[in-house]
Symmetry: C2
Subunit: 425 residues, 2 copies
Amino acid sequence: MTPAAISLSGEIQELVTLADAGRLDSEDPLRSLRSRFRIPPGLVYLCGNSLGPLPLVAASRAREVIERQWAEDLIRSWNVHDWFGLPERIGARVARLIGAQPHEVVIADSTSINLFKVVKAALGLRPGRHTILSEYGNFPTNAYVLQGVARDSAGQTRSRAVAREKILASMDADTAVVVLTHVHYRDAAAFDIDAITSAAHAMGALVVWDLSHSVGAMPLDLNAADADFAIGCTYKYLNGGPGSPAFIFAAGRHHDALDPGLCGWWGHRAPFDLVEDYQPAPGMRRMLTGTASILALATLDAALEVFDGIDLAQVRAKSTRLTSAFVDLVQAKCVGFGIDVASPMDSRGRGSHVALRHPQAYSVMQALIARHVVGDFRAPDVMRFGFSPLYNGYRDVWDTVENLVTVLGGEEWRRPEFISRGRVT
Amino acid sequence: MTPAAISLSGEIQELVTLADAGRLDSEDPLRSLRSRFRIPPGLVYLCGNSLGPLPLVAASRAREVIERQWAEDLIRSWNVHDWFGLPERIGARVARLIGAQPHEVVIADSTSINLFKVVKAALGLRPGRHTILSEYGNFPTNAYVLQGVARDSAGQTRSRAVAREKILASMDADTAVVVLTHVHYRDAAAFDIDAITSAAHAMGALVVWDLSHSVGAMPLDLNAADADFAIGCTYKYLNGGPGSPAFIFAAGRHHDALDPGLCGWWGHRAPFDLVEDYQPAPGMRRMLTGTASILALATLDAALEVFDGIDLAQVRAKSTRLTSAFVDLVQAKCVGFGIDVASPMDSRGRGSHVALRHPQAYSVMQALIARHVVGDFRAPDVMRFGFSPLYNGYRDVWDTVENLVTVLGGEEWRRPEFISRGRVT
């Protein structure tokens, strides 16, 4: 045991020496979960906030779906493997992770398309109000969707994006729906879901929460927050595979009145009756549109099995300890290297990744990747380091900072091969 | 050689005896393609118009994407495997099959969602016109999408569905866009793409063709028809796997003015700049919305390799010979069993499946399936038999009719296990 120090953020500094890393990992109650993923040996993978690694069970399920269900059972699979029910069955798995009832969540399409659907539904629930309020500068696909809705409304709807600190003050009697991303994609700053939802409701508005950067890394309790709608991505901390389909939550109290605007046969009350007129399915099923990729759905379903029996409070506790340890070590060891911590210092207001700012962030990250430490870059000057409590540990934190010190101290990032600018997603 | 007979439809009857089936199969220039699919031995699979079987190359590509790209290369795969470019690369493969330029087609989302996007784009190109015209009684997901667009338009757009024979006469100066499914999902009746497109253009309207039940089973030439838009499914004759993502075609002359209404970061001009305002990508890329399942895309990409070097005129020639042989044999052998051919008798106006009507169609199909002849059922009284020229042969036709005669002649369909009504997709 090394003596505990107090970090610059005022929290107890747990990770000071390499020995601490080993001890903290050996004491980690979630440590065994790493064996459920296939992560290349020697790789410090800190991009799980962008693309989660392969759960072993997802690989075997994909094989099963392709080589037995599709190949052998063919069209019968719709019945014998209940392919049609996958959006609801997987939705129930996600519901536990976000504090929702099992029937309040379905899996469908992409996060962008699901945002369109819940915003159209929310606008329908607030006739006479014309404004969609959102945060300026968060992940812009949401902005693009909202701008598209406004452009198509013949002046009936406007999309207004304001700075984070102006959200509360910008809600007014014309606000139909507030669309916010819970944890910011860039700096990991987290909104207070309960407080914002209450404030919006007090103003008569509804709220859509985008949980893409928080689901799976922390407990969420949408029902306790009296939340209206949520959407989110499943290929980040949920490890559903690249581009895996997204989820939609709507509170049960809204179900009977939902019209997603984007209506196809998978959302019909009786899809196999093939009748001419659209009649919405009861409940969340109406938020579905067309036939979904069964391969993508089944792989996601399997990936979520890794969460079975896991206590999300424990996940969150480990997440904050990892990110705090990283922030503390960076501050202790990177003095004078031009590094700024761009994420909130108080772990209570921070998601599960940490953003560092550096004028040569792109090249520094390339140099780190060459050293098998994989974070990512966001223009113009941010490096993101995602810590997934399911497979990252304290040794990952230690190794990352050691490599960062080497890269910055030796100016390794100046090598020509790290300068040319590529596309990093 | 058996002497050629003249069928009831006036065409030469090629398949009269079991020996004919063997001879015709041995003479089939496409025969070897069957070996590129994994089809269970002993199964006569006639549901390729609903779910194509597994191409061997698709299984190996899915493994590659999961076990090497996702597992090993992780986030780098967006660059090193150009995941981001898959919608356009696969689009170029589909373009060859539908007579389009490579840059006129992308893969995205589902057919239903793509219909929404092209209809919104078409309405934007025809301001001042208010009517979407479609066929009553075709596959209803399209009707549901159009009804949703109309419901959301504050009275600006109406969706009008009329009987097939009234389509031409119903086009008028208020018709913005005509939405038609080329080959009917139930009876396989085919529209004349050239004639309808010309008539719509003469009236100042645009046309959206849904090619779900024709693409891959016959040559299509959208450019020659001066077509505006098309959408289609890839899990039927294209064998992309259950729920594989769909395609969108828009004629190059429309590209600069397209607004799909459903706009996300994948359709942005510079998606990785993460700027706040939506600016459409040039060309078809703007028809994309959110992140797509890479697993689903890559599997589809591989499945389409089966079409490399294949002459679609040859595919069509075999398709019409198979369906004509089936119609002729049914008419010759099922007399008195209450069977009606519900598909067009003239093969020139018929797709690649044949619909038979019988009062007990559901039970008859169940009895056939028990005999390993797999077609499907469409309420209330239709059995569909899809003949895919890539893997079905004349022996399949022969065996199907032999089993049909046995089931109908012996009233095998009356067995209790075939009576209970299940869900057949």
